[in-house]
Symmetry: none
Subunit: 199 residues, 2 copies
DNA sequence: TTGCATGTTCTCTGTTTGTTCTCTATAGTA
DNA sequence: TACTATAGAGAACAAACAGAGAACATGCAA
């Protein structure tokens, strides 16, 4: 990503976080300190090509962020009461501890995806869950990653590197088989850092 | 949403908050600084199509704000970027969609426990997870509850009532057996409403 | 039932926004 | 030096948007 594009993307993220909708080209131009809408348009095209943005036709404010997240600002901390284990008393915690979600939910490089299907069910990731991902292009062996196959098929799997040039994507579901791809066909979109389930 | 529509919606929300009923087209027009009722009508149609408003026939003051518009923004919601399903492109979502944690995280009657063990693993609740519980003394059949046995053993299980006076606690793990207790021995401490996993 | 205020559906017009060019300038580099 | 990549300006054009207002339809009250 070029410096100008990075600057542009940052401004868009900030704008969306603040307003809840995307800026128009002129607002972006002003925001990054230039005057030409045409130039901004060029940066945007670059960001779209790299998969950071989506455009909704030629509509005004038609930009959509793809891989980045707006941060949740004021998430109330919850009291963490203790540990629960089957057959034992709840183990109280010394100090008044709170579950601070903000570290996970705040980084601008985090985003959320809702899971469909049961390919990772043995990892406790079920249909309908929200996975919190960190946007990054690399991963450690065994990480659960959002992987893009051939630039358009997305999937959530364990990733293993098989030297010299193969990637094995392993589902956490006995009914499903691991798949092996040449390294060139796989793009890592992010790594799962957390999970949220409601209901 | 177009700028004009946003302005229109804001005015309507403000008007309703102030008066308790919805404005007529001419009032909206005046409120957003234009004169044409026809134009306002067009904006309204757009807002209805986007699900922000509802119209009660062609009656005067027949506009109704939908829940989403009414309930305000006490806690900044998280952006939900899309769905991920194995083998498909990530399905992007309009930016209206958000992961709204507020209902879960807001109530003062919610608390968090950290899970030890795998007794609920088939429900996707794993060792180390945080379960978000609502503090209550009763539960529906099948709820996952924090139950206290004989006032000191805590456990996380599915709860079923077996009339007239027995409680069956069922783990979500094939390796473990359901347990049946007399109703007097069980105290319900809360019901699991959500789950959070970090790392 | 009549009459008026209100809501709807058009068309028309000017403005704003996004796109696509070309042009310039400044580094870094072979 | 010449070449390349990056950054930016700005003009010209098309699409989208914002608004006016006329003509018509509808609900409601006297």
């Amino acid at each position: 990503m070029k410096d100008s594009e990075r600057k542009t993307l940052q401004f868009i993220e900030q704008f969306v976080a603040e307003h809840g909708f995307s800026p128009k080209l002129q607002e972006i131009a002003k925001g990054i300190g230039i005057t030409s809408r045409g130039t901004v348009s060029r940066y945007i095209d670059g960001l779209i090509e790299q998969g950071h943005l989506k455009k909704d036709g030629k509509k005004s404010r038609g930009l959509n962020l793809l891989q980045t997240a707006l941060q949740g600002k004021l998430i109330a901390p919850l009291p963490l009461l203790g540990f629960i284990a089957a057959g034992k008393p709840i183990e109280a915690i010394e100090q008044e501890e709170v579950l601070d979600l903000s570290s996970l939910l705040q980084g601008s490089d985090h985003y959320v995806l809702r899971v469909r299907g049961y390919s990772m069910q043995d990892e406790g990731i079920l249909d309908g869950d929200y996975v919190i991902c960190q946007s990054q292009k690399t991963a450690e062996n065994g990480d659960i990653v959002v992987a893009l196959i051939d630039e358009h098929e997305a999937t959530l799997k364990h990733l293993y590197w098989q030297p010299p040039d193969q990637i094995k994507l392993v589902p956490a579901n006995e009914a499903m088989q691991p798949q092996v791809y040449h390294i060139d066909r796989i793009t890592i979109q992010g790594v799962v850092k957390g999970l949220f389930r409601a209901g």
